[in-house]
């Protein structure tokens, strides 16, 4: 160890000095240290204050600051990595598979987007701001943003939905998915009924069979 032992046994025993000189030295040290302390506080009087008058002046936030989760749904590929990696389970994500002909654009990683994100709910009131979801997001659709005013009055206002869809459109897509699932189930049942004749491509067939036209069955 590079540091020498700083003490010897004598230091363990409280110093025994002449009590009277101890008394006066204590008094003197007391007065001096009090005056020194007063000088320190006094020297801070004219110094510039560090207070930031918040609503009037705002401190810029760093681009990394974990303030608010935002999902850019156009870039979201429904991989669910964020949901899997979240330690507190704040994500509620529902997706509906796009029709084969439907063009939803290209994701940032170059692959075509295949899912409608019907629901992308984040419960920010539960978020622990660990940032694992943002790091897990391959397409960088989930990002941190730094709004200056984050507080809300109602806890429900922290339940964010990033799907960017109207309720009607959501219902429409969900109905379509439902119908497709039903058709698939019916086909599976039919297939189970006739096990001998196995068609070579059941999935693609079912996809085309259930919704050949872009107009779905109209919602109730």
């Amino acid at each position: 160890m590079s540091v020498p032992a700083t003490r010897d046994t004598a230091a363990l025993i409280p110093r025994r000095r002449n009590p009277l000189s101890q008394y006066f030295s204590d008094l003197w040290i007391g007065i001096v240290t009090i005056l020194e302390g007063m000088w320190v506080t006094f020297s801070h009087l004219p110094k510039r204050t560090i207070t930031v008058q918040y609503p009037k002046e705002k401190v810029p936030m760093y681009p990394q600051t974990r303030a608010m989760l935002v999902n850019h749904v156009d870039d979201c590929g429904y991989c669910l990595s964020c949901k899997r990696v979240c330690p507190v389970n704040i994500f509620t994500i529902t997706g509906v598979r796009a029709d084969p002909g439907e063009d939803l654009g290209i994701l940032p990683d170059g692959k075509p987007k295949k899912m409608h994100i019907v629901d992308f709910k984040i419960d920010m009131s539960k978020c622990v701001y660990c940032g694992l979801c943002v790091e897990a997001c391959d397409t960088r659709s989930l990002r941190w943003e730094q709004p200056q005013e984050k507080p809300v009055y109602n806890r429900r206002d922290l339940h964010l939905d990033f799907s960017g869809m109207t309720a009607e459109r959501k219902q429409e897509l969900l109905d379509r998915d439902e119908a497709r699932k039903k058709a698939k189930a019916a086909e599976a049942a039919a297939k189970a009924a006739a096990p001998k004749v196995a068609p070579p491509k059941p999935t693609s067939e079912s996809g085309t069979a259930s919704s050949p036209a872009p107009t779905p069955s109209d919602p109730s």
């Binding site: 419960d123 806890r155 429900r156 339940h159």
Partner: protein
């Protein structure tokens, strides 16, 4: 000294103890019957060449039908460490207390009792430590079910999503 040397020395000092050195990654662990625990512990602390004056950690682990109590020892003087493991069955989860040898074990043992339900005989203050005194069950057991409420305080779904302000 490394672990096997300590184990050898210990076996020499205490041949009847039945100490088994388990090869576990990355550090071996010495298994010890609970009847010998206090004597061996006192030896570990007092033997000048061992001098384990520091109980770093006392942990309770559930492994299948057994409960393990693991003692991580360290000697500040000799810079060596050693691990003891004592295995008891769940139905008979009583361990001798080592709090007379290392006083720090007192709180660790209370925690092990509170969390895992291991009783420590000879403990000076055998109470729960982290949970409330009238809490039921031992939360770290694998089969523990968390209660719905405690003294009429709901414990699940404290903040339902539609709760107003």
């Amino acid at each position: 000294m490394n672990q096997s040397e300590i184990h050898n020395r210990l076996s020499k000092l205490f041949p009847s103890a039945g100490l088994v050195l388990e090869e576990i990654q990355p550090e071996p662990v010495c298994r010890i019957p609970r009847e010998q625990l206090v004597e061996v512990s006192a030896l570990l602390r007092d033997d000048p060449s061992l001098h384990f004056d520091c109980l770093m950690c006392l942990s309770a682990v559930e492994k299948g039908p057994e409960l393990h109590t693991v003692y991580h020892l360290y000697s500040i003087r000799h810079h060596h460490r050693f691990t003891l493991r004592c295995i008891v069955a769940k139905e008979d989860a009583v361990m001798p207390s080592v709090s007379t040898i290392w006083p720090t074990a007192e709180w660790h043992e209370r925690e092990a009792y509170d969390m895992m339900g291991i009783q420590f005989s000879g403990h000076p203050d055998h109470r729960r430590i982290l949970c409330a005194d009238d809490w039921e069950g031992h939360p770290l057991r694998k089969d523990y079910k968390s209660p719905e409420s405690f003294h009429d305080i709901p414990l699940t779904n404290i903040f339902p999503p539609d709760l107003p302000l």
